[in-house]
Amino acid sequence: MSGLFDPATFLLPLQQPFMQNALVAVVLVGLLCALIGTFVVLRGLAFVGEAMRHAIFVGVVLSFLLGGSLLGGALLVALLVAWLIGVLGRQQRIGEDTAIGVLFSASFALGIVLLNFARTGVRDLATMLLGNVLGIAPFDLALTAGVVVVALVIIGVFFKELVLVAFDPALALAQGRSVVVWDGLLLVLLALALTTAFQTVGNLLVLALLLAPATTARLLTRRIGPMIGVAMVVAVSSGIVGLYISYWRNVPTGPTIVLVCGAVFGITLLCAPEHGVMRNVARQWRLRRSVPPA
């Protein structure tokens, strides 16, 4: 193996088509997850995302059994789920989180039971749970690119509405905007991100890619624009670094990417200049020293 500073170290792997595809996939999914993850974090939809990815699993299994595009099938189910969550959210009698939790854990179980009808069960289960970015099909790559464009356009056009509803739903209502509609749009975007990313990092770990870069960015920025930008840089670079590490060390790609993301978040949480743990500890220590003993 050549040295770290030799360009060939990075270029040689890219001579293989599967690595080229994987690199494009990782960049696209990183951009998408950072963009939508920012709004998921700001609107407090992490739990809804967790529930949704369980349900999407059923869609993946079903389309696998029926022999369709995994991404296409998952997308259909995800949109259905987004609608269902919107409806459940309005049933105030049952706690929203309870209802969502029960329903979607059950749907995940259904997915695993269904998977037993496939002959090659266990290996495919691993693929679905952990992702298989090295085997991504050109069609799915194109679909992913399409989803990224759609998300960019929707968020670009309705930026102020999405921000307003996330920050102050009461004012949004008073201005005559339907919070249900804008939350619904965000749920659809969330569904798109979860579905698109599951082939890269797998169903189990997709939420990390959605939340970690956005949360990292929130620790480092003061406005939403920069937050999205930093989240994108974190997500894309974690994806690329994770991809290369997994190629060189021959470890699963999805988990490696998520590990890199998690490490970046952990380091930021410790060292962030304003909101970091170390900064806070230092502040308290200085404060305690400045208070004279009683």
Binding site: L42, Q92, F158, F167, A174, G176, R223
Partner: protein, 262 residues
Amino acid sequence: MSTAATASAPNHTQPAVSVEHITVAYGAQVVIDDVSLTLPPAQIIGLIGPNGAGKTTLLKAIVGAQRVLKGQVRVLGQPINAVRQRVAYVPQRGDVDWSFPLSVLDVVLMGRYGRLGLWRRPGSHDRELALHALEQVRLVKRRSCQIGELSGGQQQRVFLARALVQEADLLLLDEPFNGIDTTTQSVIFDLLCAQRRLGRTVFLSTHDLHSVEQNCDQLVAFNRRVVAFGPVDQVFTGPVLHSTFGSNVAVVGEHQTLVIRQ
């Protein structure tokens, strides 16, 4: 104020708000019970009542952010949907997450969103208005701060600035004096009086009885229904306060009130 404000000067003959027999319930729990209320224009009107009296719900029902089970709400003589841009609403400060990555100016600009509609973004005219409003609340120097860096009183003033840029004829404020400093309180009341001089109506909820006694023209004593409504000296009496606040209030002397528990 700008010429747009004078052009849309409110009509002084019709009530600012007229609520007829409205009932609001969360599930099976009735929070507002068959309430009727007519607020005159160009006045500062206080809404007082204990916690859980339904003050927030009443404000939300007026502004159309809360569904009404029964009854009718008319604002500035029309259904709320026809006059939304002429109504500014200031939610309770505690209702939003102040660590949100927005600058002070970003938040004030949100007051313009109603007029901008779905497709337009805030332009230079909106920014000018926002900066002017920030000047009025004495926060123009802090326009680029992240909103979490402000004190509670400053945050409340940002919310007021956001309502001012809307150039509305009716301002509804929910607990604007909750946990703020006296400077902020006098800045807010000065600005509200200026709004009144422009012929605009202010309706604000509070449980700080001292501030409303001095600064409001009329009071609504409210506890799921209207206990009393009229000029301050008529509402601010022992019997009214007792039936509004129940045993939580003790009245000492003729006009001295002591609220023991909220």
